[in-house]
């Protein structure tokens, strides 16, 4: 049984709700210690539902990256921009835009980055999702 009944649901939807509040949040399994980003209601490691929200430092290291020149309709007009896989200091890896980087000579694998937040609700075709977006900047 989940013991933390007062916590918001451990969901992707609430992950972005926290992004809108300027927080990068993960879920930690209280039984085995696994940190899940985005949060999940059931730990895939030990199947526990005894889970808590934890705020992440938002600092990490670039593991790999690309410079996107042909975006989806969600980001048309923002190109070119970098997207990296960032290994957070707490362990989990997440993808994130680095909007200030537009060319491969501006970034290297191993570079340190920290999270930032674009709290404006993004325009999408259709009525969902209406999420804000986190991103990374070079330290």
């Amino acid at each position: 049984m989940r013991m933390s009944a007062d916590e918001p649901e451990f969901s992707v939807e609430n992950f972005y709700k926290f992004v809108g509040e300027g927080k990068l949040m993960g879920a930690r399994c209280r039984r085995c210690g696994r940190i899940m980003v985005p949060p999940r209601p059931v730990c895939p490691n030990c199947y526990s539902r005894d889970i808590e929200w934890v705020q992440l430092s938002g600092r990490g290291t670039v593991e790999t990256f690309t410079i996107v020149h042909v975006p989806t309709v969600l980001l048309e007009g923002k190109e070119p921009y970098a997207v990296a896989v960032v290994k957070l200091d707490e362990g989990p890896k997440i993808p994130g835009m680095i909007p200030d980087v537009a060319s491969p000579d501006q970034l290297r694998i191993g570079d340190r980055v920290r999270v930032g937040f674009d709290r404006t609700i993004q325009k999408v075709p259709g009525s969902w999702p209406s999420w804000p977006r986190y991103y990374f900047v070079k330290e």
Binding site: T64, F65, T66, V70, L74, L75, P80, V85, P95, P104
Partner: protein
């Protein structure tokens, strides 16, 4: 034959891959079905076919889901067993896997396996969004990635780790365009030069235009039956003797090593084991080169090259149709085209042509064992088949 026959492919058919104005998924399917039907002797679908499985990734393009039912109806079988099968870009081979297990279980004698995708009625931005559904949409696509972008993440890491260069990626494109120039059903049969590939505009650095498979309309169909019934329908059946499948983490960011397609390794090892072969026993491979880096990573995961050395294989030209280990003789997804849901069945169509000696100018001499590898999304599902004659 190395393995025990699990099912026979008695006929197959395919539309040309490309831009088909005025034709939707339904008409494309009908065209491929008709070719497959005419290639089989004494096959009466209304009497002999027990089920229809059709691979198709997206229902957004034409606002039409429920494709099992319309495909069955277009095949003249309004009351049969059917389903649309979705496993992203591996939908076609997943339809084959389900059909095959149906035949192996004894549930069905003969099954129509199809794959289809109509994509060119939409703009590039829309298609890029829809294809993004095959990745982790909520984390990857929402945060700016695209399909070329996801494979670019693998390419950047691979080049950094093993010392491969952009020209190695480009050489895959040059080879597959050369192969496509001999395939009348290929979308881009133009040969290209290394300079052309290297100087093309970036799509998702380090991937450029010629590193990416195109947006394609097309359909492919295969008819499979129990091995003991095969000779009733053709004198030249080919047999599926092994298959393997594995999922992997949906998101590229979740994988421990982004340069390694662990699901492909597991799927191919299972398929080889079932067929009683090693990678070295195959006469040709059709692999999922949605992007040039994917073909190089697949050389490694499928056991054709050692880990970290896949780029050397293309550098030495060893995977041309007339070389040691022919890979993507059809032109691959890269140049033959990639109508997403059709691709897995299209790969089998090519192996069927090759093993029956019907591949024309690109025929691999004395081909007896062919391997197909079809990948879903950015490597989150893999199907591998061993086909023999």
């Amino acid at each position: 034959m190395h393995g025990k026959p699990l099912a026979a492919i008695v006929s197959a058919g395919s539309t040309k891959y490309g831009k088909h104005d005025g034709k939707g998924a339904k008409e494309l399917f009908a065209e491929a079905f008709s070719e497959a039907l005419h290639g089989a002797r004494n096959l009466d679908p209304k009497r002999d076919v027990n089920a229809v499985f059709i691979g198709q990734m997206g229902s957004e393009y034409e606002y039409q889901a429920h494709s099992g039912s319309w495909a069955a109806d277009y095949a003249g079988l309004p009351y049969t067993h059917a389903a649309r099968v979705e496993s992203a870009c591996a939908s076609g081979s997943t339809a084959m896997r389900i059909a095959l297990t149906g035949v192996m279980s004894g549930m069905y004698d003969t099954v129509l396996v199809a794959g289809v995708e109509k994509m060119r009625n939409r703009g590039t931005g829309e298609v890029t969004l829809y294809l993004g559904e095959a990745g982790d949409f909520h984390m990857e696509i929402w945060n700016g990635l695209t399909f070329p972008g996801l494979f670019a993440l693998m390419a950047t890491a691979y080049m950094s780790k093993y010392g491969a260069r952009e020209e190695h990626l480009a050489k895959v494109a040059v080879k597959n365009h050369k192969h496509a120039s001999m395939n009348p059903k290929a979308q881009y049969p133009q040969e290209i030069t290394l300079e052309q590939a290297l100087n093309a505009r970036p799509v998702a650095w380090p991937l450029k235009l010629y590193d990416c498979s195109p947006i394609t309309d097309g359909a492919s169909v295969a008819i499979i039956t129990k091995p003991e019934l095969a000779k009733k329908y053709t004198d030249t059946p080919v047999y599926i003797t092994g298959f393997g499948h594995s999922t992997d983490y949906l998101g590229v960011y979740e994988r421990e090593d982004v340069t390694w397609l662990e699901g492909a390794r597991r799927a191919s090892e299972a398929a080889y084991r079932m067929a009683g072969i090693g990678a070295g026993d195959a006469d040709l491979f059709e692999v999922h080169d949605c992007f040039t880096i994917a073909e190089i990573l697949l050389y490694e995961a499928l056991g054709i090259a050692k880990r970290g050395e896949g780029y050397k294989l293309i550098d030495e030209g060893l995977t041309y149709y007339d070389s040691k280990i022919p890979v993507n003789v059809s032109g691959g997804l890269k140049a033959k085209g990639h109508p997403v849901g059709a691709t897995g069945v299209g790969q089998m169509y090519e192996i069927w042509l090759q093993l029956t000696g019907s591949a024309g100018r690109r025929q691999v001499k004395d081909a007896e064992v062919g391997v197909t590898h079809n990948m879903g999304g950015s490597g989150a599902s893999h199907n591998v088949f061993v086909i023999e004659r």
